[in-house]
């Protein structure tokens, strides 16, 4: 099994290179990068100031040489592949480069957003699991009863509504119309002046609506997974045997069925890890939460490619690790599983 995981780990390397190279190349060919932005600025400034273009014959506002200098400043002076490997080399030393917008290390900018993303990510994770597992069990036991039908309708309704649409509904009703919750943000502007207790209340008040948006779609899959797998197990021979041996229905479920039903859930655990950090930029945009999602979106719109790539490195790294972690979880929970 160790060899299997080592092989898996090694295989993530080409994948990682593939992902980052793809995006790296794309970013190179998109208009509106920092150099072009400067050319445009110079262009507009010249127009307004009435300055004759260099040598008075039109053409680019900045001289070839100035352009070359700018390109060098932003590291665009080398062929794509070479600058990609230069970038990769730096990434291996945990240097994600400098944001072309903030002129600050990308890593610092990203780390600044970690607490926000982790806060929402973990809360979402915890709430999802603590709702879905009991609900799934309940639905399995009460299969085909009104409770089962009703809760199915509900979780699928939630599943159907895209989280950003739900966010819009919430913000327009509870923040804009009724003014119960704040319109957005992670904490209030006065956060630093508050007492500890007020801080907690403030944080939670801000968290309610975004959390609901994050959560709404996450119940269906997990609940149904739990329900179906528990029902599979309930119908399995070993449960019958256990009950034939005199175990009560309750004990059969608690001591045997549930544990085995958790296996499929474990497989999905790894994937949720990457979500914990990256969040959903749509929800963050709507609620104006300064998390990783919003950072990614803004840096893309503003063409801050070092940050875009930095986020990509982290999210794809986590995604790949999550995949392996999932396998590992399965191996731990289910001793029958053997990887070859």
């Amino acid at each position: 099994m160790t060899t299997y995981f080592i092989r898996r780990l090694l295989l993530t390397i080409p994948t990682f290179i593939g992902i980052t190279l793809l995006v790296f190349v794309i970013t190179r060919f998109v208009p509106g990068g920092p150099v072009e932005r400067m050319v445009t600025q110079a262009q507009i400034a010249n127009a307004e100031m009435g300055i004759e273009q260099i040598d008075g014959v039109g053409g680019s506002t900045l001289s070839e040489e100035q352009l070359a200098q700018l390109n060098a400043y932003y590291g665009f002076d080398k062929p794509v592949i070479i600058s990609y490997f230069l970038w990769l080399k730096k990434v291996l030393t945990f240097d994600l480069g400098t944001s072309s917008r903030y002129n600050e290390p990308v890593w610092d900018i990203i780390v600044e957003r970690f607490p926000v993303s982790i806060f929402y990510g973990l809360l979402t994770l915890v709430i999802t699991y603590s709702v879905c597992i009991p609900l799934g069990i309940l639905k399995a036991i009460k299969h085909s009863t009104p409770i089962d039908h009703f809760s199915s309708a509900l979780v699928f309704l939630g599943y159907a509504i895209p989280n950003y649409v739900f966010g819009i509904i919430l913000i327009s009703l509870f923040a804009s119309h009724w003014d119960i919750f704040p319109l957005g943000g992670f904490v209030s502007y006065e956060f630093d002046d508050l007492t500890f207790f007020e801080k907690v209340v403030d944080l939670l008040r801000h968290a309610v609506l975004p959390l609901l948006s994050y959560l709404i779609g996450s119940f269906a899959v997990m609940t149904m997974m739990m329900k179906n797998s528990l029902m599979d197990n309930l119908a399995a021979d070993y449960v019958r045997t256990a009950m034939a041996k005199g175990l009560t229905f309750k004990d059969a479920i608690l001591k045997h069925a549930i544990r085995n039903s958790l296996i499929p859930l474990a497989t999905s655990f790894g994937h949720t890890i990457s979500f914990v950090l990256t969040g959903s930029f749509l929800v963050e945009t709507i609620f104006n939460i300064d998390g990783m999602g919003l950072l990614g979106y803004e840096s893309l719109v503003e063409r801050d490619y070092p940050v875009v790539l930095g986020i990509l490195v982290i999210s794809s790294g986590l995604f790949l690790l999550g995949n392996i972690l999932s396998d590992l979880c399965v191996a731990i929970v289910d001793p029958r599983v053997q990887f070859n």
């Binding site: 300055i51 100035q66 200098q69 002129n103 957005g184």
Partner: protein
């Protein structure tokens, strides 16, 4: 510059340019085209060591204080002028004190004023903290003393002498002397600031700064200019030599350093991503000068970052922000309503100003068929229903822009009327050029081709306006296909002249209209020039060249009128809308001067630029008490058209 998709394109363009202009003190300069700027050693020979570049670029004939101790000798026959005659434009009733809160949509990327990303909207505020040698009276547009008390123009109309105010100090207490102006040149020409445009400008447009003694300097322009434009161009700002350490890390090192200022405010506290506060200097050096008295009345300024306008609005309604701009129609008409307004806690103001208007229009690329045909262009102009856009989507708030250059005082040709939406006349012109058949969809055809145009634009919220225009144009048998791109990509296409019709606005700036960039044949059919209509006409070229060389204002005005008429006749640009006013709401405790603002006021609550308003802290208590108890105060909605044209 922020090409922000959430701000109107022409606003964002305009704003960013306003920033450029503010920094250079409305510097309009129109070079003659014959005067060759001196060779710039720094740009032509990259081998020059960075730390030597300043010495290299300084003219050998005019030694700077850096290289030689012997100072240049001031010519004897200088006639110094100043301005103490114009009326003051501040209200003596103003009271010092209080704090003012406002917001910006995003946290600035840097506090630097030059170099990468130093053109955000926030930089505009910061630039207001750095005064120039002279300022301009906002109503008379005459020069008024600022860091210089006196000035004199040399007969060559290139050099301006300045006597510096010996009382002027940096906010850190250091004296502002001639060396700081020499340093401006050195600084702006340095490669380390990664600002090619400034490098260029301070090499070719400002060719030298000469020190005569600690408080007397001359600034030399690269080209002879009319008097007012020359002063505007040479009234540069000093740079604190004692503060900057110019080396290759300057851009990174000075991102968040608080540069000493020359105006009444300095940065106090910064909380990244959250807010920035400014404080008023206690003994500001210009405190009691004629044109600076009773201004900059607020003690503390707090600028919060609120990304979303709707959220900012709720903050304003809670009294956490003191004022809020209401230029957008639905804010003025719909949102700014209700108890807070009816009971007089919040006041609304609509103030007409008189400024160069952004040249907002549909720019027809004459290099693309069939727009090379003047009949098609004229027909198209009559097929565009701007008035319907104004009356529907824009709620009657905007006005029709008459022609390219509007709001340049005497220079503006006010006799031009824009072409109105008129299906009959459009029909006439289209028939003239043979577009007289109709397809089954109601679109005109000629030789199997449909009369369809692509309209290139980059501001998503202008879609509302364009869909109205598109539907109306169908009535004249014209199909317009809307091509919305991200603003950077859209602008790039336009500069590469790949558009058919560009829907965009150039910000209005400077003291007089610009024709060469937009209409001279030298700039036609070349990428990266502003002649985005690719229009060329030898007659027009001649007149443009004459206009550029003319130093007499009277003649230039006449030429400008003629040029504007020729451009109108060519029908290459369909002017769209203008907004000749500023609108805002403020809490009743914020007091405006009795005359509200000046001719050039773009924001009534501009705290660093105009600084005319003040906070009435006693009245604030009254308002807050009244609000708590629900008692009404006198309600006010002010509409001032003193400066309306």
């Amino acid at each position: 510059m922020t090409m922000n998709t959430t701000t109107p394109l022409h606003h964002s363009l305009c704003f960013a340019i306003a920033i450029f202009l503010a920094s250079l003190l409305l510097g309009g300069c129109d070079d003659s085209g014959t005067a060759k700027p001196p060779a710039n050693a720094a740009t032509s020979s990259p081998a020059v060591q960075p730390d030597q570049s300043s010495a290299e670029v300084s003219q050998p004939s005019t030694p700077s204080a850096e290289t030689e101790p012997a100072l240049a000798k001031l010519p004897d026959n200088i006639e110094w002028t100043t301005n103490n005659d114009d009326k003051i434009f501040a209200d003596p009733e103003a009271k010092r004190g209080g704090s003012f809160s406002t917001y910006i949509p995003s946290f600035p990327l840097t506090l630097r004023l030059v170099g990468p990303d130093s053109n955000g909207s926030f930089a505009g505020l910061l630039r207001d903290l750095q005064m120039g040698l002279v300022d301009f009276h906002p109503n008379t547009l005459n020069p008024i003393p600022a860091l210089a008390t006196h000035w004199a123009i040399a007969p060559d109309q290139k050099t301006v002498y300045y006597q510096l105010d010996p009382e002027a100090t940096w906010s850190d207490g250091n004296k502002i002397t001639a060396d700081d102006y020499l340093f401006t040149l050195e600084f702006m020409r340095s490669k380390h600031i990664v600002a090619p445009w400034y490098n260029e400008y301070y090499s070719k447009q400002i060719t030298d700064v000469i020190k005569y003694d600690d408080y007397t300097i001359a600034v030399v322009s690269g080209h002879a200019k009319p008097r007012d434009e020359l002063i505007a161009a040479t009234a540069i700002s000093p740079k604190p030599r004692h503060f900057h350490q110019l080396d290759e890390n300057w851009v990174q090192n000075y991102n968040w350093k608080k540069e000493p200022t020359t105006s009444a405010y300095t940065i106090d506290k910064i909380k990244k991503g959250k807010f920035i506060t400014f404080k008023r200097l206690d003994n500001w050096w210009a405190e009691n000068k004629k044109f600076y008295k009773h201004r900059f009345n607020v003690d503390k300024v707090r600028i919060k970052v609120i990304r979303d306008q709707n959220i900012a609005w709720t903050h304003f309604l809670k009294g956490e922000l003191d004022s809020f701009p209401l230029v957008l129609p639905h804010y003025w008409h719909e949102k700014a309503k209700g108890e807070l307004f009816d009971k007089g806690y919040i006041h609304k103001v609509k103030f007409y100003n008189d400024l160069p208007q952004p040249a907002a229009g549909m720019w027809l690329n004459t290099a693309r068929k069939p727009l090379d045909d003047i009949n098609v262009r004229q027909g198209l102009a009559h097929a565009i229903n701007i008035n319907k856009v104004i009356d529907s989507v824009l709620r009657g708030d905007y006005e029709r822009l008459e022609t390219h250059h509007v709001g340049f005082n005497d220079y503006s040709n006010t006799k031009i009327d824009p072409r109105e939406f008129d299906v009959e006349r459009a029909d006439y012109y289209f028939n003239q050029s043979g577009w007289s058949n109709f397809g089954s969809d109601g679109i005109r055809t000629k030789g199997g081709q449909r009369l369809a145009f692509e309209v290139n634009y980059g501001a998503q919220h202008h879609t509302d306006r364009l869909v109205v225009i598109k539907e109306e144009a169908k009535k004249a048998g014209v199909e317009l296909n809307l091509k919305l791109l991200d603003s950077a990509a859209s602008f790039k296409q336009v500069l590469e002249k790949k558009h058919q019709i560009a829907w965009m606005a150039w910000s209005g700036g400077g003291l007089s209209p610009r024709y060469w960039e937009f209409y001279h044949s030298v700039n036609a059919n070349k990428p990266q020039t502003n002649n985005i209509t690719n229009y060329s006409d030898p007659e027009l070229d001649k007149l443009i060249e004459a206009y550029r060389k003319e130093l007499s204002k009277e003649k230039r005005v006449a030429q400008a009128h003629q040029l504007e008429q020729m451009i109108h006749d060519s029908a290459v640009m369909i002017p769209t809308t203008k907004v000749p006013y500023t609108r805002s709401a403020h809490w009743a405790w914020l007091k405006l001067p009795s005359f509200y603002g000046t001719k050039r006021t773009t924001s009534l609550t501009s705290v660093f630029g105009g600084g005319l308003f003040w906070m009435d802290t006693e009245y604030k208590d009254v308002v807050e008490k009244a609000k708590k108890e629900g008692n009404p105060l006198p309600s006010r909605t002010i509409v001032d058209d003193t400066w309306r044209r």
